[in-house]
Symmetry: C2
Subunit: 257 residues, 2 copies
């Protein structure tokens, strides 16, 4: 099977120009077919605030009303996606930016929850792997932003970690997928105050994984959650890494089990 590397880059790495450039340089050095999935929550929050709209979160997930959906669509599919695409083009990668609506890449269901209305938030239903194959076969690098659609004309906000996870598991039938969550640290840390305390391998079923889930907060919950789920869903390799360990998985955190 052909290798495909799916990289999720967090909004935290994209807000700083130097980090963004360093990340894109490392990403462009990956030779095999690859896919980039990006977030951008921090830039969306800044734009919401510039427009006088207060962002609301619940357990690390944004609540998306109509004005918020418009802003995240502008920031994710517009500002961030096109900046990444044009930067990758300059680095020699034939990047093509996509939301889940483009080519019906990712259809989703609006989330229903008795306790809280998340607004225009979607949970992925299916991934158009044929489209991804067509793009990869033609030498392109899909750059996916965290928006999906319900196929009835409604765009939906979807967690980027989740998108990376479902895209990777959907592709696992025809590719050997290595899914790499790239964030501010070089791996999952045993001690948050010590950047060298990287846990090099994390068994999904182990107490450590369960314990970690209990200890980590906010934006990290979906990340480890999705990494665990992707590993359980048959993704060949799931890694949590930083810019320096993006292309050196053995120095990052490998999720298995």
């Amino acid at each position: 099977m052909v290798n495909v590397i799916v990289v999720k880059v967090g909004g935290g790495l994209l807000e700083d120009k130097l980090n963004q450039d360093a990340f894109l340089q490392k990403f462009s050095e990956i030779a095999s077919p690859k896919i980039l999935v990006h977030g951008g929550g921090k830039e969306a929050s800044d734009m919401l605030s510039d427009l006088g709209i207060s962002p609301v979160f619940y357990q690390g997930r944004r609540i998306t009303d109509e004005p918020t959906l418009k802003v995240v669509t502008m920031v994710y599919a517009g500002a961030i996606n096109k900046t990444l695409v044009s930067s990758l083009q300059a680095l020699g990668d034939n990047a093509i930016g996509l939301s889940g609506a483009d080519g019906n890449l990712i259809s989703a269901r609006k989330r229903v929850n008795n306790k809280i209305d998340f607004g225009f938030v979607g949970d992925p239903v299916s991934v158009n792997t044929a489209l991804i194959s067509t793009l990869l076969d033609n030498g392109m690098t899909p750059v996916i932003c965290p928006l999906t659609h319900d196929t009835k004309g409604q765009l939906l906000n979807t967690n980027a970690d989740t998108i990376a996870s479902v895209v990777s598991s959907s592709l696992s039938d025809r590719y050997h997928v290595s899914l790499r969550y790239c964030f501010e640290y070089n791996g999952v840390l045993e001690d948050k105050t010590n950047p060298d305390s990287i846990i090099h391998s994390l068994n999904v079923k182990s107490n450590t994984a369960r314990q970690l889930k209990g200890e980590i907060t906010d934006g990290m919950i979906p990340k480890v959650d999705n990494a665990l789920k992707a590993s359980q869903a048959g993704v060949g390799e799931v890694i949590i890494c930083g810019i320096d360990t993006l292309n050196a998985p053995d120095k990052a955190t490998v999720i298995y089990g």
Copy 2:
């Protein structure tokens, strides 16, 4: 040769939800392979004003400084493009949104002008017709927003009428292209105050065409200019129409010569 219909829809038709829906309905009824090119200057101006940035125009063309480029990128590639794509998906069209940077669709040169610095504005240099063919062959409908790139990492603002024109002329080698500029009126009017005074055919070389150019102002100059250029560049059919005449070219204005 296979027919391809390239439709340019103006920002004026997109700002009103009823017009937008009516336009998309008519567009989705086109059976042959097709491409949509959209503008969005009015929505961009509104967003600039919401963010406290004053839009500046020179002869109907926007001057694009860095904050303006970010806003037009958000509005064109984000809000408008993804709304059109998800709406077309709901109508059964497998739409895929693209800027000129995506898949290196349209590379451009930053405009140099001795009299005035247009900022981040680009004039198209080449169109990746192979990418368009790949998408059309796979049953997709490209939806192109008015942004290009210089292949060195810089996004550039480009007039949507110009994009429709260069895409159409580039495709004319391998397709029979019908280029349709769709705007508020059902064709070019002899008398602006009478919507029924449609000029049904306009010879590029005729005095009428030259006269019209002298009489029309602002946003209409690039439209007629680009229609004339596209016709001269070998595009099979160039039409200026409205929603009601989009699929009835004989009732609109046909440019020839």
